[in-house]
Amino acid sequence: MTTDMLSIEGVSKNFGGLSVISEVSFSVPEGGRVALIGPNGAGKTTMFNLVSGVYRQTAGAIRLRGHDISNVPSRKRVRLGMARSFQNIRLMPHLSVIENVMLGQQARTKSLADMAMPLSGSRWRREAETLLGEMGLDTYPGEVVATLPYGIRKKIEVVRALAAQPQLLLLDEPAAGLNQTETASLRDFLMGISRRGVTLLVVEHDMGLVRSLCDHAVVLNFGRKIYEGSTQTVHEDPLVLEAYLGPRHNVAQGAVTNNGVAGDAA
C-alpha cells in the first residue's frame, strides 16, 4: 500500500461568519497528478492557502505523508517538501528573474554559511540558471521581474516553486494567460517533473490541460466537494454540470465540449 502524499481530512474554513470551505476530504497519492477544479469562488485557492499555511483551517486535519502539519508554521512547511505557485503572480517585483528563483531555493539552505556566502558564481546560482534553461527562460536571468510579460512571469512562478525541489507541487492556475503552444509545452514540462516522482496538485480551468495532465480530479463548489474521480468522466457528472452551468442545464443539452467544461470558468 502506498501512503498518500497529502490528505485533507474534514477540513473547513470560515472567515468570520462566512464559510468558504466545508468539511472537505480528499487525498493525493504519492506521485499522483490530481486536479482541483471548480467555478470561481469555489474555494480552490483557499484550500492551497490552508495547505501551505497562509491560513489555518477552522476544523479538520491536513496530513503530509501521514503527519498532521496543522501546527507547523507556514515557513517550515516548505522544508517538509511542498512548494506552491500563486494564481495572481506573487513574484518579488524588485528582484531579478534569477534572484526570484534563488529565493525559491531557500528551503534547502542548511547552515549560516549558506546565508553568508555571496550568491554570484555560487552553485545556487548555476543551478537556478540550469532550471531556468529547462523552462526556456534563460534569456532573462538578470532582468527585474516587474517589467516582464505576464506569460513569462507565470512560468517563473513555476520555476521558483520547483527550485525548492519539492515532493509535492501545488500549482494555482499555471496556464492562465498562456497561449495554446505555451500551455502544451507547460504540460510536457510538468509531465517531466511528474516522471521524476514529484506529486502534483493543480488548480486549472483549462480542461484540455486538466485531462491531458491529470488522471484524478476533485471538484469544489461553494466550498464543498461535489465530485472526486477520473478526469475523463468529470464532464458527465450531473452535479459538476449543474455547478458550472446552473440547474437548468443537463447532459442532454450537450453543453460540455472537449475544450472546457464551461467557457465562463476562466
Partner: protein
C-alpha cells in the same frame, strides 16, 4: 589638506556610515525614523567611555556600535510588531526617549553636553566608511541580502519560501542600529563634543531622506544620497552669492548685492527633494539602472540581446 576639506570629508564619511545604518532596515521594508536616537546612543557611549575612563578610540568607537546595535536588536522585537506609519512613529518615539533620557542624565552632562578628549582626523572616518560600504555591498550579495530584499517586496510569500521574516528583520534592524551607533562614535571623536540638541528629529529625517532619495534597491543608494545631501549645501554656499549677483545684473542692478540669506539653501534643498520624489520615486539609483549599466559593460550579454 585644508581644515575645511578635512571637515567636509569627515562629515561625508560619517553620513555615509549613518545612511547605511538606516538603509539596512529600509531595504528590508522597515522605515526607521529613529536614526538620531541610535546615533546619539553611539556618540554618548564613545564620549562617556573616552571622557570618564580615558579609553582609546579603537575601544570607544567599536563600543559605540556594539551598544547601539544591542539596544537596536532588543527594541526590534517589540517595535517590529508595528507596521507602516505606526512603525515610523514607534522608531521616532524611541529617538525621543533616548534624547529625553540623555537630557535628564547628569552623568551624561544633561543639556550641557560632554566634551570628548580623544580627537580623530578625517582618515579614520573615511577608512571606516570604506569598510562599512564594502561590508554592506558584501551583505547585499549574499542569500541573507536576498531574503532582506524579498521581505521588502512581499512578506507573506517570503515566509512561504522558508525565510524566517522576524529573524531577518530584527537582524537588519540591529545591524543598522549598530552602524548608526558607529556613525555616532565617529561623530563624537571628530567634533570632540556631543550635545543632545545635535541629535534631533531633523537629523533622523535627513538620514532617511539620504536613503530614500539615493535609492533603497542597491547598496549604491546610501553613498549617492549621503554624498548628494552633504555636498549640496557646500556647493550652494559657494555658488549662491554668484548666482544672486548674476541675477541682479540681469535685471539691471550694477552695484554689488548682499549675499543671499542662509535659509535659501534650505529652500533649494526642499525643492530638490520634492522634485526627486516626484521624478525618481524609487530613488536616484535603481536596480534597473544598474542592470542597464551592466548590460553595456558585458559584451556577451549584449550579444545575447541582439540574437534574442
Amino acid at each position: 589638506m585644508s581644515g575645511y576639506w578635512a571637515g567636509i570629508l569627515s562629515i561625508l564619511a560619517i553620513n555615509i556610515v549613518f545612511a547605511y545604518g538606516i538603509f539596512l532596515p529600509v531595504a528590508t521594508g522597515q522605515l526607521n525614523l529613529g536614526g538620531a536616537g541610535f546615533q546619539a546612543l553611539g556618540a554618548y557611549a564613545a564620549a562617556y567611555a573616552s571622557a570618564s575612563f580615558g579609553l582609546p578610540v579603537y575601544v570607544t568607537i567599536p563600543l559605540a556600535a556594539l551598544l547601539a546595535g544591542a539596544i537596536g536588536a532588543l527594541i526590534a522585537f517589540p517595535i517590529l510588531r508595528t507596521r507602516g506609519v505606526y512603525l515610523v512613529l514607534a522608531t521616532f518615539a524611541f529617538a525621543e526617549v533616548v534624547a529625553g533620557s540623555i537630557l535628564n542624565s547628569e552623568t551624561l552632562g544633561g543639556a550641557m553636553g560632554l566634551s570628548v578628549p580623544a580627537f580623530i582626523d578625517w582618515q579614520i572616518p573615511v577608512a571606516v566608511a570604506v569598510l562599512v560600504s564594502l561590508f554592506v555591498f558584501y551583505l547585499m550579495s549574499t542569500r541573507f541580502g536576498l531574503t532582506m530584499r524579498a521581505a521588502h517586496d512581499d512578506e507573506v510569500v517570503t515566509d512561504l519560501m522558508g525565510v524566517n521574516i522576524r529573524k531577518t528583520q530584527v537582524t537588519a534592524f540591529g545591524l543598522g542600529a549598530a552602524l548608526a551607533g558607529l556613525a555616532g562614535g565617529l561623530y563624537a571623536h571628530t567634533f570632540s563634543f556631543v550635545e543632545i540638541q545635535g541629535f534631533n528629529a531633523v537629523v533622523s529625517i535627513y538620514v532617511l531622506l539620504y536613503v530614500l532619495l539615493g535609492g533603497t534597491q542597491t547598496a549604491w543608494g546610501p553613498i549617492v544620497g549621503a554624498t548628494f545631501f552633504t555636498m549640496l549645501p557646500e556647493v550652494l554656499r559657494e555658488t549662491l552669492p554668484t548666482v544672486k549677483q548674476t541675477l541682479a545684473t540681469l535685471v539691471g542692478i550694477t552695484e554689488p548685492v548682499a549675499p543671499p540669506d542662509e535659509s535659501w539653501r534650505l529652500v533649494i534643498l526642499g525643492v530638490l527633494t520634492v522634485l526627486m520624489m516626484a521624478f525618481r520615486p524609487e530613488g536616484l539609483i535603481t536596480r534597473t539602472m544598474m542592470e542597464r549599466l551592466q548590460f553595456r559593460r558585458s559584451p556577451s550579454r549584449a550579444a545575447a540581446e541582439v540574437s534574442a
